[in-house]
């Protein structure tokens, strides 16, 4: 009886799963046939420690529209090594891996496995060739036990057609034993911490006879002990002649676990070599290049007349995202906050803005301590927050341009609850001209605008509220070059109008060009502050990957 009810639940979830990922649906039959073969092959692979796979990617080119993402990249990876794939955001790492994983096609070039050319048209082709791609968002179903997750889409069935739960359980246990994983296959996936989920994914990849595993930033959401667990697993794989391509921003980890590195910059392969031959500093400079600093937009030093302190934060802590944050910002200043994925900067400023909560710490506005419990309170007190991911966090897709530009100030301008639309219109007309928003009619849908103009509309709604502190989270995300420059101009102009501006960005370039000084965050703490000549990509990258500033001059500790 429990078995049968299990089948019922399973089939329901399977349907769901196949909706999410239809490839399971189409290949499940094929997979079931090949599974047993794969399973035994994997066993022999693990035992023999003999032959290992070699992947070569030659002259890979890929462009999206006029944007060349990969320009003639050639590289190779083989079993038994852990190879770090490094590069800044937008360097082409994920495009390259998506080509290898069969997710997107390349424009030209070739992929060779053991000197034989292969053609990956779908992710399944790539998987069957022995390449497993573990994405950042794990592909596990929380409501099923581990052993059922291990066999998703290629379930073992009894002759009657019901699931052979026992066999699936035993096989999972067997693999765990071989991989030195101390885990009960019957546990529910939801009860696992992030590192064990990662490990289950890896074991599942092993079950599909993977010889090369691509891991896309597997450690971003893990704690230090969890990272150790995953690293131990990776070492086991390495000993078993499996190759791993490890995408990470954290140079500490690269130094610890990897034996080779590949650095991409702007779609070019800039450096390949053994990790033991280089320092972290070298790697950081490979990633950003040496002559990256373009002309700074900052106002000439000495001409900076910053006003009084507007916002001060003391010891702000939320154990999940950020710890012991201290900083202060004056009127007319532009302060950058940067770091890599998982540094907690968005969460920090959403907490200051009242959208999320914090556990301990104090916030002072113009010298007075304030408690901010909601976003409307924050707005009344003069804080504005332009969120990242415009589409999810800022755009009201069912509303028109003028409404998107006035949502913040509706209640401010209204008389007895009635919207003062003429005032909104007048204000927006001024802003349309000063922000140079290219648009048709005010009552056109917001989605009719380009990304840059949408962002300007979102910005205009905050300017309408007359903020004292303007927090801009990734303000140039998904914005074309022209609009980007416009937004920089606007930021500088607003600072001249004595607004304290905070720019959150993962692009060091952006911070260097626009900000007076920058705080660099790493894993929820402010790792250091840079300004003047110390504010360069190398230093920022070193801090963002967990390095220290050292005793160089120009350093201002808080």
């Amino acid at each position: 009886m429990p078995v049968e009810s299990g089948v019922f639940c399973r089939s329901g979830i399977l349907i769901l799963h196949s909706l999410i990922d239809s490839r399971y649906h189409t290949v499940s039959i094929n997979r079931k046939e090949t599974f047993r073969k794969n399973f035994t092959r994997m066993n022999s692979l693990l035992k023999s420690l003999g032959d290992y796979m070699k992947i070569e990617m030659k002259n890979i080119r890929k462009s999206f529209g006029s944007n060349d993402v990969l320009k003639d990249v050639t590289l190779s990876v083989q079993g038994g090594e852990i190879c770090a794939l490094l590069g800044e955001n937008g360097a082409g790492k994920s495009t390259l891996m998506n080509i290898l994983g069969g997710v997107i096609p390349m424009d030209s070039g070739s992929i060779l496995i053991d000197e034989k050319e292969v053609d990956f048209e779908t992710p399944v082709d790539s998987q069957e060739a022995g390449i497993a791609f573990i994405h950042q968002e794990l592909n596990l179903i929380n409501d099923l036990p581990i052993y059922e997750n291990m066999f998703l889409g290629r379930e073992i069935k009894t002759k009657k057609g019901s699931l052979d739960l026992k066999q699936m359980y035993d096989k999972t246990a067997e693999i765990f034993k071989q991989m030195n994983v101390d885990l009960d296959p019957g546990r529910m996936v939801r009860d696992l911490d992030a590192s064990y989920k990662q490990i289950v994914e890896i074991c599942r990849a092993m079950m599909t006879n993977a010889s090369i595993i691509i891991m896309d930033e597997p450690t971003t959401s893990l704690t230090d002990t969890e990272i150790e667990r995953v690293f131990a697993m990776m070492k086991t794989l390495k000993e078993n002649n499996v190759g791993i391509i490890f995408i990470s921003h954290k140079l500490n980890e690269v130094k610890e676990i990897c034996n080779r590195y590949i650095v991409l910059r702007d779609g070019n392969l800039v450096s390949v070599g053994n990790v033991s031959d280089v320092t972290k500093k070298d790697l950081a400079s490979y990633m950003v290049g040496f002559d990256v600093r373009t002309e700074s937009l900052r106002r000439v030093a000495g001409n900076e007349e910053v006003g009084n302190e507007i916002l001060r934060v003391e010891g702000l802590t939320d154990s999940r995202h950020f710890r012991d944050i201290n900083f202060s910002i004056r009127a007319g200043e532009i302060v950058g906050i940067t770091g890599l994925l998982g540094d907690g900067r968005s969460e920090l400023f959403q907490a200051i803005f009242g959208a999320d909560h914090y556990e301990t710490g104090k916030i002072f506005l113009e010298g007075k301590e304030v408690t901010i419990k909601s976003t409307s309170q924050a707005i009344k007190k003069g804080i504005a927050y332009l969120p990242r991911n415009r589409k999810e966090n800022a755009i009201l897709k069912d509303m028109d341009i003028i409404e998107n530009a006035s949502v913040v100030t509706w209640s401010m301008f209204s008389k007895r609850g009635v919207i003062d639309s003429s005032r909104h219109r007048k204000l927006f007309e001024e802003q349309r001209d000063s922000l140079r928003i290219k648009m048709g009619d005010m009552t056109d849908s917001i989605t009719s605008l380009s990304g840059g103009n949408q962002q300007k509309v979102v910005l205009s709604k905050w300017l309408a509220a007359n903020p004292k502190v303007l927090i801009l989270d990734n303000p140039t995300q998904g914005v074309d070059v022209g609009a980007k420059e416009d937004i920089y101009d606007i930021i500088l102009k607003l600072a001249d109008e004595n607004i304290a501006i905070i720019v959150l960005s993962s692009e060091a370039q952006e911070i260097i060009r626009v900000c007076d000084r920058a705080l660099v965050m790493y894993h929820g703490v402010i790792q250091g502050e840079v300004r003047d000549e110390m504010m360069n990509e190398q230093t920022i990258m070193r801090l963002a990957t967990g390095g220290e500033l050292g005793e160089e001059k120009g350093v201002h500790q808080l």
Binding site: T375, P387, N393, A394, L396, V408, S414, A465
Partner: protein, 355 residues
């Protein structure tokens, strides 16, 4: 009319000048246009079915008007509830409890009004017109409070709207049936005037209430902070929150408004008949209200919704019921037609969106 044959640059832009162009333009740009066309077709059908077998135009007009007054009056209560439901759905929620709220507020009104032994107001010595006015105020307040209670459990308690209102639906009816079953009231005649007061020999008071409330809510949805914030919340809750919209307050007020409108419907119903059948009154009301909103172009996922569309939607369903009645379709089959209408309406709107 012969179209202007001289070359006209304004005509170069598609549509608007010729009827077909205008029609196409409206069809793809005005979300309520297709609903209005559907309604007009239904009304023409209904008029044809009614026939012209009368001695004079006056007599035919009399019959036609009477038929229409009947349709509108019978649907005024649900029509009012559907308006509130539109707001609820626009926030991305749903309210299944309306039928039960109708019964519990109706029972409350009857207990207040009763001139007999169990009457609450008469027991404390308030009778006549003051009692009626007080009853109206208390019943409205009661409905508002019940709605607010549901709203609190949804916002503060984080109970999904479907569950919260499903629970309320069971609780309200069950409690009412337990305490009030078999209760016969003597509702004062003056109270019955609320619905049955005649204007020029026509019993149209419920229709007037419906029209007034529709106008007010239309204004609220278009012009007030509350109305636009409803759309903002339903369109993108996260963005609304990050724009300083107090999403919990908006949702709470929407459910409270829903309760208030249901209590208006309850007052209309009690004053029309003078009593209420606690086990059957309001059954299926939530589905009719949802159907009207959906036919009227409201998006079940929230964000998009039209008060005017809901009025059209209600009328379409009402006219169709009337048509089925005139055709003599057996009662059990009528629900099926309603179902078809709802699905077809949504299909039509979908096509519009992708076109």
């Amino acid at each position: 009319m012969i179209p202007n044959k001289q070359p006209n640059l304004e005509n170069a832009s598609p549509g608007k000048k010729t009827f077909v162009g205008w029609f196409k333009h409206k069809w793809s740009n005005d979300p309520l246009f297709s609903i209005l066309i559907a309604l007009i077709i239904m009304v023409i059908l209904q008029t044809l079915t009614l026939g012209f077998d009368y001695n004079s135009f006056g007599e035919w007009f009399q019959a036609w008007t009477n038929n229409w007054i009947n349709i509108l009056r019978n649907n005024a209560g649900v029509g009012i509830v559907a308006l509130g439901m539109t707001f609820v759905i626009m926030t991305g929620g749903i309210d299944l409890s309306v039928g039960s709220t109708l019964v519990i507020t109706g029972a409350f009104a009857m207990y207040l009004l009763d001139t007999g032994a169990q009457g609450i107001l008469s027991a404390v010595g308030i009778t006549g017109v003051p009692a009626i006015i007080l009853t109206i105020i208390l019943v409205l307040a009661f409905g508002y409070m019940l709605g607010a209670l549901i709203g609190v459990s949804i916002t503060k308690g984080m109970v999904p709207p479907f569950i919260a209102t499903l629970g309320a639906m069971m609780i309200f009816r069950s409690v009412t049936q337990h305490f009030a079953q078999g209760y016969n009231t003597k509702v004062p005649v003056e109270f019955l005037q609320i619905s049955s007061f005649k204007i020029g020999n026509l019993m149209i008071m419920p229709i007037i209430y419906w029209a007034i409330i529709a106008c007010i809510l239309y204004y609220v949805s278009k012009r007030t902070t509350f109305g636009r914030q409803i759309i903002a919340v339903g369109s993108n809750e996260r963005a609304a929150k990050l724009s300083g919209v107090n999403i919990n307050k908006v949702k709470l007020r929407v459910y409270a408004l829903m309760g208030l409108l249901v209590s208006v419907a309850a007052i209309i119903q009690v004053s029309r008949i003078g009593s209420m059948d606690f086990s059957n009154a309001g059954r299926g009301m939530e589905m009719d209200a949802i159907a009207a909103a959906v036919v009227g172009g409201t998006n079940m996922l929230g964000g998009r919704g039209y008060i005017l569309g809901t009025v059209y939607g209600m009328l379409i369903i009402a006219v169709m019921n009337n048509l089925l009645n005139l055709f003599g379709v057996p009662p059990f089959l009528r629900e099926a037609f309603k179902g078809v209408i709802v699905i077809v309406a949504v299909l039509l709107q979908r096509k519009e969106k992708t076109a």
